[in-house]
């Protein structure tokens, strides 16, 4: 087997900032080569160089034995490189087959499209690689996992030999992930070269043949996946040893803070998303809700934070120390002593254009402590900002000038958590997907802070689709399935079963599918 991609001494500078420095990498033909690293380590810059979006500042790139200087993705595509982006490049209004031939119609502008032949080709590819799809279906009607299959078929149709996958599992359910991995393996077995960008180490170990670890724009090492362990990879990535699972000392829960009784939620479209959901969260414990996304998590969060869409019907009870939360506005709920980090950080928790300091204030800007006249007290805010930055290890250069968008996902999430965990007088903390899109080093900090908050006596409701996270943090675990808690693991059970994590994950898995 030869080398599919060889980089030697490749650097990329943006102004004075070196996003990639002196990268040397060779990817063997017919292998799955994983590229791991924390957010901001330079993975995406490197892939953009290979895919022709960025021109390297210096260095040499050899594709299939030929030295290349791509000036656009078009040239990269011609050289047999394809990429599945994290955010799919599909036209939702077009059918699968139309999307696949888009840009490669192989006909004159006004000539008829050869849809029939193409369809046959696509079906053949689909069968060969386990990518079952209806070629006539509209892309808008497909699930995320199916849309990803369209992207892969697109690459096959263009006869790409080198396929780059950018965080392909970030949006997939566990079973879809398994299925994707099967496809990746069969692609490799048919001689395709796959570059897999990810920060999930379990996945790397499960599917990759070789792993290159990036840190601060450099490749710190390339190792065969079979010869490396997860903690070793994590250490290479972060540059120090990381606790992959925080220590979770036994909890001694107090009085019940949040009490949800027979909660029902019907959407404006008439779908029943919560069905007699009953649970309670006590002071000083973390109640973890495990479940595949779409089983009512979002609706539960909307109901608890006063954001149910107009026209939805909520019945049943949700009380905080006896006072109902249902029907109140977010600002009122916050005043009652509730804090919430939403599922979708970028859309709901921050204003990207605002500075870090302004974001640390967002949603808490009504607190009189920050006020001065009609504006804000810049001195109080400055000291608060500094305290949060050092306490939560937020990596930034100038919090009063840098927009939040300049930070990595992990640091953005630290900003949100710092803000929400430190609201004065909170008794209930609702955390949704606290580690989503966050790298390992930051996860460690975030999990530690969550445990600390629990120790300080807060009641915490944790909603996460990552079982690993649920098991690591929770005091009790409720398995959410089709809008109700199907099974609940008691404190003793969780403490006991946490020791055999894989077994426990499987057991929970049975209750949520």
């Amino acid at each position: 087997m030869g080398v599919a991609v060889r980089l030697s001494g490749v650097s990329k500078k943006f102004g004075s900032f070196a996003a990639n420095s002196n990268i040397s990498l060779s990817v063997e033909k017919g292998t799955i080569h994983a590229l791991v690293g924390e957010n901001g380590a330079g993975k995406s810059t490197l892939t953009k160089i290979i895919y022709g979006i960025h021109l390297p500042t210096s260095g040499e790139m050899v594709i299939q034995g030929k030295t290349v200087h791509f000036t656009s993705p078009r040239e990269a595509i011609k050289a047999g490189i394809g990429m599945v982006h994290q955010h799919f490049m599909l036209v939702p209004e077009l059918s699968v087959v139309e999307n696949i031939i888009l840009g490669h119609e192989q006909t004159s502008l006004f000539g008829p499209l050869s849809l029939k032949n193409t369809k046959a080709l696509i079906l053949k590819d689909a069968e060969a690689y386990g990518l079952a799809l209806d070629p006539d279906a509209l892309v808008a009607s497909l699930s995320i996992g199916e849309q990803q299959r369209v992207e892969i078929l697109k690459l096959l149709f263009r006869q790409a030999d080198i396929m780059i996958f950018d965080e392909p599992t970030a949006v997939l359910t566990p079973s879809e992930t398994e299925r994707l991995f099967a496809t990746l393996r069969s692609l490799r077995d048919k001689g395709k070269t796959i570059i897999l960008i990810t920060h999930k180490l379990d996945e790397v170990l499960a599917v990759a043949d070789a792993v290159s670890v990036m840190r601060n724009g450099e490749i710190v090492g390339t190792v065969p996946a079979a010869s490396v362990t997860k903690p070793e990879l994590a250490r290479m990535m972060v540059g120090r040893s990381v606790l992959l699972r925080v220590t979770n000392p036994p909890a001694s829960p107090g009085e019940t803070i949040l009490n949800i009784k027979r909660l029902r939620f019907r959407t404006p479209q008439g779908e029943e998303r919560l069905h007699d959901l009953t649970l309670n969260v006590r002071a000083g414990e973390i109640y973890g809700i495990a479940g595949v996304e779409g089983n009512g998590q979002s609706e539960l969060l909307q109901a608890l934070w006063g954001l149910a869409p107009v026209g939805s019907v909520i019945s049943g009870e949700a009380t905080l120390k006896g006072h109902s939360l249902i029907g109140k506005k977010p600002a009122e709920i916050a005043l009652m002593g509730v804090s919430h980090t939403p599922e979708n950080r970028l859309r709901h928790a921050v204003v990207l254009e605002y500075t870090i300091a302004e974001n640390l204030l967002f949603g808490r800007h009504r607190e009189p402590a920050f006020h001065k006249g009609i504006g804000f007290n810049s001195r109080t805010i400055k000291s608060y900002t500094e305290a949060m930055i050092s306490d939560f290890d937020i990596r930034c250069s100038s919090p009063e000038r840098q927009p939040l968008s300049a930070l990595s996902g992990g640091n953005q999430q630290k900003v949100v958590l710092a803000r929400e965990l430190n609201r004065p007088g909170i008794s209930l903390l609702i955390l949704a997907q606290p580690a989503r899109g966050v790298d390992i080093g930051a996860i460690e900090t975030i999990h530690k802070k969550i445990i600390e908050a629990r120790k300080s006596g807060m009641a915490i409701l944790l909603v996460s689709s990552e079982l690993e996270e649920i098991i690591a943090l929770s005091t009790r675990i409720g398995c959410l399935y089709k809008g109700s808690i199907r099974h609940e693991f008691s404190q003793e059970e969780v403490a006991l079963k946490r020791e055999a994590e894989h077994e426990f994950e499987k057991e929970i898995g049975l209750h949520i599918t």
């Binding site: 954001l307 506005k329 977010p330 967002f362 949603g363 800007h365 009609i374």
Partner: protein
């Protein structure tokens, strides 16, 4: 080059290119551009009267610019400054004729100004309410409201309030007239520049503070930038939409007061002459920033009045082309510049 320099260079470059294109058009019309520009410069900034004229026009432009810029802070496109200006102007003239002549000016003038602002605000408020309650696109709503305002003022003027065989209303009572600088300090003699300019600068500064230094502005901009996050943060985005539209309309109403109470002293058909639309260009060129609006309004003010002064050499139509081209160039360049940044 860093992005800060670029941000300053782009408007400058766009203005220069606009001048170049303007010269070309003048040359095509058979005149010497240099001579025309010299005449313009002299007539606008070379005499106290010219400066006064420019100040007067700049004042209205600042206010219609703000009328567009304030809603833009919540990402709403107010195309309706013209309609708000019309409603404000008509109301100012009506209040001005109806107030008793015995009322002291210190009461009468503020009353008239407030009525104009209220009329503008109500007109814009309609679009805001339509947006929040029914999700009607504010661009369409404000355009339609422009037509309706034109209809209402036109009807009321022609059928009820016009002095026979003229196209204007009766004069406002003397105690509601905003004094000109000429009559108070002796500056810019005979020009229409009046004390509402001072008020306008104050209003621009007020909005600067409101946008960037107050909690209100913090909420308002957040609601514009990330409406969904604003809801999570307990911010009432709908309220901000309505407030921003109303404040914008009120600014346009103040602009109307400048024209009616400070200069014309009656309402006349066609007196706003589309200046409300120039407000869009003023706001865009200034990036909706209240201080930059002062500057961009001044530029458009010079252009407007300058165009009038060279009427003898350059037909009005040609100058209309130049003005529109300038706006187009400036907007294109700023859009292009934003992509570069």
């Amino acid at each position: 080059m860093n992005s800060k320099n670029l941000r300053l260079l782009i408007p400058l470059f766009s203005l220069l290119s606009a001048l170049a294109v303007g010269s070309l058009v003048i040359a095509l019309a058979g005149r010497d551009p240099l001579m025309i520009f010299q005449k313009m410069l002299h007539a606008t900034l070379g005499t106290p009267y010219g400066v006064g004229q420019v100040i007067f026009r700049t004042t209205t432009l600042v206010l219609v610019g703000l009328a567009v810029a304030i809603p833009f802070q919540v990402r709403l496109f107010n195309i309706g400054a013209e309609g708000q200006l019309l409603m404000g102007a008509f109301t100012a003239a009506m209040t001005g004729t109806m107030l008793p002549a015995t009322l002291p000016s210190l009461v009468a003038i503020p009353l008239c100004i407030l009525s104009a602002m209220a009329a503008g605000a109500c007109w814009a408020l309609l679009a805001g309410v339509l947006k929040v309650r029914f999700g009607v696109n504010e661009v369409i709503a404000t355009i339609m409201l422009n037509f309706i305002a034109q209809g209402i003022t036109g009807y009321l003027l022609t059928w009820h309030f016009a002095i026979p065989s003229t196209v204007h209303t009766a004069r406002i009572t003397v105690n509601t007239i905003i004094p000109t600088f000429g009559s108070v300090t002796g500056w810019f003699t005979n020009s229409p520049a009046n004390l509402s300019t001072l008020l306008t600068v104050g209003v621009a500064l007020l909005f600067l503070i409101l946008f960037y230094y107050s909690r209100f502005g913090y909420e308002m901009r957040a609601a514009g930038l990330q409406p969904e996050a604003a809801r999570y943060g307990g911010i009432n985005a709908g309220m901000h939409t309505i407030t921003a539209m109303s404040l914008g309309g009120a600014a346009a109403g103040l602009g109307a007061a400048n024209i009616v109470l400070g200069y014309k002293h009656y309402y006349e058909s066609g007196m706003t002459a589309g200046i409300g639309f120039t407000g869009i260009a003023v706001a865009l060129l200034a990036g909706a920033h209240p201080l930059w609006i002062l500057l961009s309004a001044f530029f458009f003010g010079c252009l407007e009045y300058g165009g009038l002064t060279v009427n003898a050499w350059i037909p009005k139509d040609i100058f209309m082309i130049i003005e529109a081209l300038t706006i187009l160039l400036v907007i294109s360049f700023s859009a292009f510049g934003k992509r570069l940044l």
